[in-house]
């Protein structure tokens, strides 16, 4: 039986489509054009090269290529044609300058090598004492940013500066309304220049705008003192600090108070400041406080009223007691007490100004000028723009299309503006919808002057020739005024006019004291307005507190990988912002994740990575920020949530750096707190990259030693800072010779012996040292997914611990009381409970870097002796010798060693600054850039100690105390890190080592580290 089956390849085949027939005939549709590379047949046959010859040639050239590859590369050295006198290759130069990017203001020193800035240091000559924070330290990298605007453009096409000038001048002369919308410059010269500009063009007006402003504090100060400025505070003078919703260690009031706060926290002569904090989010200030009381923003208003006036109506019972206690303590402290607040309301701010009128801590005579923006004027501008009244809008240092809550309205208004010029460092959200982009230089490439605090002028001077075709805003203004003067000469004239005798000296020092630019502060002390504004409008729903992270700030440095990867001091999360929420609220909304279950979504992945739910955040007016990751935050006041600003930028930001969600739409009316917020769970999960997954100390009080001021003052050292001792046979008895040692130790008594002292009292956890360490030691950025795998490369981390009970002492007691496995005090359940932080925990920060153990466990296990000890106390790491067994990291009790899992430089998989020529400019040439497969760790900045020694040898002199430093000790402005030579008995670090508070981390392990800590003393009455 023959088969009738018919096989077909396609429907067309089955239907006998003629096309299929044709194609079948013509199987090779296209002939391979062999002629093209072989030539015609005749040529081929006459060719001298036979197939064999060809193979020979191939073989030879392969062999030749591989042989040639064995030779070292030819390295070129290109000297200067004319070498500038002050530049000596290999020797660093330092220049004083000032950062004033509208959010961060600080006098700094810039270290340059061969003409390129590579590091920011603090300028000790600055009197105001606002040290460089983490963002300022990282700002040097923002200059070497490939995403910067590289030349003037209009409508996406490159144009000349003349074309821009022509466009602007035409618009200015048209007579239509022109507006300068700028950041706060706080610059005497710029103020003068803008005044001249508006005088020349009567149709022009100036509006200052701060992305994250202090609208209400400024309003209150202006009302009372007639000047739009901020009261200044010197916390070193404070005995009692009561803060109601003010993150005094963070960015409150323009920031910069961490150093004076930190200094006031060190117990001297039995005294230290007492700090009580009422707040909603867990902030740095709350974490450092002696007493922290969670309170939602609306409760904070009542608390403030209760403290300031004694009227405790409408307060819950627990807050009543705390507020009354705070009021009592403040009154007792008199002029040495200070009340500060971050409440978003002019009435509350005025109340504080009134309350502090007699305080030594507050300074209103010489106020701070780092904020001046007025959101009402900006809102009016947006309305005018939409009404088509604005003919020219010049923007400088601001990005309103990103940072305004009504950014969409702003953008539609911008389209109606005839000529809009964005004077900006990058083609950001605003620049993208402007008609002209006039790129400005980075502050390290520009001239300027800044009056951070009235009476002290800091100078901005360029430290490098502009990298791109940029022109600073002030030069543009001068050009548009038709002046042929440049801004440098303009500043010189301003300074000469102010009686600054030597401009060069001012530039060299970076600061000059002059009252010539001081504006009048009314001393009539008109009592603040009625406190009617303190009324609390009842609103249902959550209360949102927006905040800025120490890493990201207002987001103008969002393209900086150092800052993106810098862990948040509180949550320890990198590369993200998120909604912080209390555990109770999270459970109620179904946003809670259990630690580990088989059946539900788990809090942690198998690799430890933390997960979170997503939620939509909706304001009462309908503004929605969708898909916000939720992170449960111990200490968050119930009924409140927190969200960081500065994230969610997309335009002109590298793809890896487009992280988080933009929270600015929620900042209605420039207010950082919003009531009546709805949180709604949405589908999906978010993966966090958190570098500390274990949050509590589990009662191990010898890691972070703590005591109270009372005990510290009254009891013997042995009671609160006992040195662990060896016991035999479980019978405790006095050890007679604790110095007995199994090791043959180095003799470190001769020469230098370096020690690093860390004062846990002064450390606020700000993280400036972390970024300084990155810059000094070429620490690579590894990216979010690697951080999530716990492969971060930070040499210096600041561990943050929560207490599981209300206090750490409670944890210690609980551990002490454990008895057996099960039952009331059973260790099985007990330790499980202790893994969870309390609802309002105590918090401790502890910077941990390589402890440079004299008896280092890492050294003994290295099979190739790549890590070894030096006589000066440093634990050396020879990268070229390391073969990457990672035994050392496993044997390190402090977990401070970092392994290079990948090649992090020049690798497209890690497309951060080390992968482009511009970004690599920031690399410190004195420190090796590590390669894949080697272990690395803190070197105690041996390149810096070696340099100090060499300088002294060359000058032929002994080294004085204070000359030795590390990057972290230099960066710390609160005095938490002290570095020096303990063989020099007059040194500060030697004195600290002899202090009663001194202890070593995990002393019982017997590693004898060269890093030591000072026991944290809390000024609490409660034990």
């Amino acid at each position: 039986m023959s088969s009738n089956k018919k096989y077909w390849k396609s429907v067309d085949d089955l239907n006998d489509n003629p096309l299929v027939q044709t194609l079948r005939q013509n199987e090779f549709v296209e002939e391979i054009p062999t002629d093209e590379f072989l030539g015609d047949k005749a040529t081929l046959e006459t060719s001298q090269t036979s197939r064999r010859d060809f193979l020979k040639y191939v073989g030879f050239s392969t062999a030749a290529a591989s042989l040639a590859a064995c030779e070292g590369p030819v390295v070129k050295s290109i000297p200067y044609v004319v070498q500038p006198e002050r530049i000596v290759p290999g020797v660093a130069d330092y220049y004083a300058t000032t950062i004033a990017d509208g959010f961060d203001f600080a006098s700094v020193l810039v270290k340059t090598r061969e003409g390129r800035p590579i590091k920011i240091e603090n300028n000790d000559l600055a009197h105001a004492g606002y040290g460089a924070n983490a963002r300022v330290h990282a700002s040097v990298l923002s200059m070497y940013d490939t995403n910067r605007a590289q030349g003037p453009s209009a409508g996406g096409a490159q144009v000349s500066w003349e074309a821009i000038d022509k466009g602007v001048m035409a618009a200015l002369q048209s007579g239509k309304k022109a507006v300068l919308l700028t950041q706060t410059f706080a610059s005497p010269s710029t103020d003068k220049l803008i005044a001249e500009f508006t005088a020349k063009y009567p149709n022009a007006s100036h509006i200052a705008y701060d992305a994250v402003g202090e609208q209400y504090a400024l309003d209150a100060f202006e009302q009372k003192f007639g000047l739009r400025a901020l009261a200044d505070y010197d916390f070193t003078k404070a005995e009692v600090i009561v803060s109601v919703g003010a993150d005094i260690v963070g960015d409150w009031n323009g920031g910069g108070y961490d150093s004076s706060y930190g200094k006031s926290r060190v117990p001297k002569h039995g005294k230290m400041s007492r700090h009580i904090q009422f707040e909603a989010n867990m902030s740095l200030a709350g974490a450092n406080a002696d007493m922290r009381v969670p309170a939602t923003p609306s409760q904070q208003k009542a608390v403030l009223k209760a403290i300031a006036t004694g009227n405790a109506s409408g307060l819950p019972e627990n807050l009543k007691a705390a507020a009354a206690a705070a009021r009592k303590e403040l009154n007792a402290a008199g002029a040495n007490g200070v009340l500060v607040t971050g409440i978003q309301g002019a009435a509350a701010q005025a109340m504080v100004l009134d309350f502090n009128a007699t305080s030594n801590v507050m300074d209103t005579a010489a106020p701070k000028l780092t904020r001046s923006g007025d959101i009402n004027k900006v809102n009016q501008l947006v309305r005018d723009m939409n009404a088509g009244q604005v003919g020219l809008l010049i923007m400088a240092g601001v990005n309103p299309a990103y940072s305004l809550p009504n950014a969409t309205q702003f953008k539609t208004g911008l389209e109606k503006v005839g000529v809009s010029v964005a004077c900006t460092m990058r083609a950001d959200e605003t620049a993208a919808s402007s008609t002209h982009i006039a790129p400005t230089p980075h502050y390290l490439e520009a001239w300027g002057d800044v009056q951070i605090k009235q009476g002290e002028v800091s100078i901005i001077q360029p430290t490098i020739k502009p990298l791109f075709d940029t022109r600073q805003f002030q030069d543009s203004l001068l050009a548009w005024m038709g002046s042929d003067q440049n801004y440098y000469n303009y500043i010189k004239d301003t300074m000469a006019g102010a009686g600054v005798t030597s401009f060069n000296k001012a530039v060299q020092d970076g600061v000059v004291m002059t009252n010539a630019f001081a504006k009048a502060v009314s001393t009539t002390q008109t009592s603040a307005t009625s406190h009617a504004g303190m009324a609390i409008a009842a609103q249902s729903g959550f209360e949102l507190t927006l905040y800025t992270k120490t890493s990201m700030g207002d987001g103008n440095q969002a393209n900086n990988p150092w800052l993106q990867e810098m862990p948040d001091p509180i949550t320890r999360a990198t590369w993200d912002n998120y909604l912080t929420m209390s555990e109770a609220d999270a459970k109620e909304l179904g946003l809670w994740l259990d630690r580990s279950t088989f059946f539900t979504e788990a809090r942690n992945d198998a690799n430890g990575g933390l997960n979170g739910h997503l939620a939509n955040v909706t304001l009462s007016d309908g503004t929605v920020v969708p898909n916000v990751p939720v992170m449960v935050q111990p200490g968050q006041a119930n009924g409140s949530v927190g969200l960081a600003l500065g994230y969610g930028r997309t335009t002109s930001i590298q793809e890896d750096m487009q992280t988080g969600v933009n929270a600015y739409p929620l900042m209605q009316n420039g207010s950082l707190t919003q009531g009546g917020v709805t949180i709604e769970k949405v589908a999906g999960m978010h993966e966090f990259a958190v570098i500390q997954l274990h949050n509590t100390l589990m009662g191990r009080g010898d890691i972070v030693k703590e005591t109270t001021l009372e005990i510290f003052n009254t009891k013997d050292k042995k009671y609160w800072n006992a040195v662990p001792e060896v016991t035999k046979a479980h019978i405790e008895y006095e050890v007679t010779s604790p110095e007995v040692d199994l090791w043959d130790s180095f003799d470190r008594s001769i020469g230098h012996h370096f020690n690093l002292g860390i004062d846990l009292n002064a450390c606020t956890g700000c993280g400036a040292c972390v970024i300084a360490c990155h810059a000094e030691n070429n620490v690579p950025v590894v990216g979010k997914s690697e951080v999530r795998r716990s492969r971060d490369m930070h040499w210096l981390r600041i561990d943050r611990y929560y207490s599981s009970n209300d206090t750490f002492a409670g944890d210690d007691q609980k551990k002490e009381d454990m008895d057996g496995l099960w039952g009331e005090n059973g260790s099985l359940g007990g330790f499980g409970e202790m893994e969870d932080p309390a609802a309002n925990p105590q918090v401790a920060f502890q910077p941990v870097m390589c402890q440079h153990c004299n008896h280092a466990p890492c050294e003994t296990v290295c099979p190739v002796a790549a890590t070894s000890h030096g006589r000066q106390g440093q634990n050396h790491m020879a990268y070229n010798r390391c073969v990457g067994t990672r035994y050392c990291a496993n044997n390190c009790p402090y977990k401070v060693r970092r392994f290079n899992w990948f090649l992090y430089n020049g690798n497209d998989q890690f497309d951060y600054h080390m992968n482009n020529d511009l970004g690599r400019m920031v690399i410190n040439p004195d420190v090796t850039v590590r390669s894949r497969g080697v272990m690395e760790k803190c070197s105690m900045c041996i390149q810096m100690t070696q340099k100090t020694i060499l300088d002294a040898k060359r000058d032929g002199r002994a080294i004085k105390d204070g000359e030795f430093a590390t990057a972290c000790s230099n960066a710390c402005t609160s005095g938490a890190l002290a570095f020096g030579d303990i063989n020099d008995h007059s040194s500060e670090v030697y004195k600290q080592k002899q202090d009663d508070r001194m202890y070593h981390l995990l002393e019982s392990v017997g590693t004898k580290p060269n890093v030591f800590y000072q026991t944290k003393v809390r000024n609490t009455k409660e034990a």
Binding site: C70, G72, V74, V75, K76, S77, I78, P79, Y80, V81, V82, Q83, V88, P89, G90, V91, D747, S749, I750, G751, A866, S868, G870, R871, Q872, Q874, H876, M877, A878, Y879, N880, R881, D926, V927, T928, V929, S939, I942, Q943, Q946, I949, L950, A952, K953, R954, D955, G956, R957, A958, I959
Partner: protein, 443 residues
């Protein structure tokens, strides 16, 4: 031939002092004679004495036949129509002359961009006469090229010729021997002698015996392997060691001429070696400190002062100096910078790996180590090469053997006292000071 440089220098010194004596005598003579005449006259001057005076006083800015900072002075007497009075005034103090409003003086002053000429009030009329006499010296005809050049390059060839002749002779010898052998064989056959044939031995061939002896095979295999490993290790140890590396540089810069013959101190050009980790390749403006006035090398006409060698002619060197001028943008004709520069891409010779930190100032300024200790006889190097292996073993050896220079350095006072007591030695080596610790060079 480089070794001769020092005697040359000595001779030069003699010559110089000799001519100085002559000048002095002439000067004394002339002072007495001029007191009578008090006249400047080139015709009466002594050109030889003038040459010495010229070199001592004028040479920094003037040349005879070429414009430099100041004009070329050949024929200057003729140019100013033997106006000796004016010339004398100009030479003694040109600024004074300009101040009087002398038109000629002002025009020269302006022509040379208002460069002030040094005043020489101390020159007597006789001195000036001598100098002017010297300025009338005709330019010596360049030495006829030809035979000299041939012989110069002949030296290298002759060795090859000798060698090839030797080879030829050897070949001939072999041929002759073969012929003799042949002839002898033929002779023997003619005589009827039976030449004993090579007997095929019944014994085992030696290789077979060797193969069958397992012990021998084993021993020799082990021997071969060990030997192979030894040589492989030796070979691999030199990978990346570029001792003797002498790359071709974009400008043929001769350390022999600069550091050797002219005895310029190393740190005059490599000044950052004193204060920095880098010795620094001098920037071109350092070169121009001297080369503004040195546009050509001293050729064979300079006799013993000549810098040229058999391998490198004067023309060759002069061309290299032109390369410098081009790079730095120096226009010789106008004696000014054009502003068009082309930075020189030198090939780096001493390449330490990135993971090794080396600081020149530590060794040069603090320890006082001679540059030659590591860089070899630079003053003899026509082409710079890497003298030392720059391996870690080489560094370490020196640190073990070298004493730290502690004298007169307060930094070392305490540590030296304590350490020398500890080790019981008078002088401490760098190693005892901690110079062998990994972290001192690797971080």
């Amino acid at each position: 031939m480089e070794a001769n440089s020092i005697p040359i220098m000595i001779q030069v010194n003699h010559r110089n002092s000799f001519s100085r004596i002559i000048t002095l005598c002439a000067a004394i003579l002339l002072t007495f004679s001029t007191s009578l005449f008090s006249q400047i006259d080139a015709a009466a001057g002594d050109a030889t004495a003038g040459e010495a005076l010229f070199k001592a006083n004028c040479g920094a800015c003037h040349k005879l036949y070429k414009k430099m900072t100041g004009p070329a002075l050949f024929g200057v007497v003729g140019k100013y129509e033997e106006d000796y009075e004016w010339l004398g005034k100009w030479i003694r103090n040109s600024q004074e002359l300009i101040a009087t409003g002398d038109a000629r003086a002002i025009s020269i002053y302006e022509e040379y961009n208002e460069t002030q000429m040094n005043a020489f009030p101390g020159l007597t009329d006789g001195d000036i006469s001598n100098i002017l006499a010297y300025t009338n010296t005709e330019k010596p005809a360049p030495p006829a090229p030809g035979p000299g050049a041939v012989t110069a390059s002949g030296g290298g060839v002759s060795n090859n010729i000798i060698l090839s002749i030797l080879g030829l002779v050897l070949l001939l010898l072999i041929g002759v021997l073969l012929l003799v052998n042949n002839t002898l064989k033929k002779f023997a056959q003619a005589q009827g002698l039976e030449l004993p044939a090579m007997e095929q031995s019944a014994r085992k061939p030696i290789w077979q015996a060797f193969v069958e002896n397992q012990f021998l095979v084993l021993v020799s295999v082990i021997f071969l392997l060990l030997g192979g490993a030894y040589f492989a290790y030796g070979w691999m140890s030199q990978v990346g060691v570029d001792q003797g590396y002498a790359p071709v540089q974009p400008i043929h810069y001769s350390h022999r001429i600069h550091a050797g013959e002219n005895a310029i101190e190393c740190k005059y050009c490599h000044s950052s070696a004193r204060v920095s980790k880098h010795s620094g390749i001098p920037s071109l403006n350092i070169c121009m400190n001297c080369h503004k006035s040195i546009g050509e090398v001293a050729g064979p006409e300079a006799g013993e002062l000549s810098s040229v060698t058999e391998d490198y002619s004067k023309e060759f060197y002069d061309k290299e100096i032109q390369k410098l001028y081009k790079a730095v943008g120096w226009d010789e004709a106008t004696q000014s910078y054009t502003g068009e520069t082309q930075p020189v891409e030198w090939v780096r010779i001493h390449n330490l790996p990135d993971f090794a930190y080396f600081n020149h100032s530590q060794h040069v300024s603090v320890a006082g180590v001679e540059c030659q200790t590591c860089h070899g006889p630079v003053e003899e190097m026509e082409i710079m090469y890497q003298h030392a292996p720059l391996t870690m073993g080489w560094c370490i050896n020196c640190h073990r053997e070298t004493n730290v220079k502690v004298e007169g350095n307060p930094y070392y006072e305490k540590i030296h006292e304590e350490l020398s007591k500890k080790y019981g030695v008078e002088k401490l080596t760098a190693a005892q000071m901690g110079g062998l610790e990994c972290g001192k060079c690797h971080y």
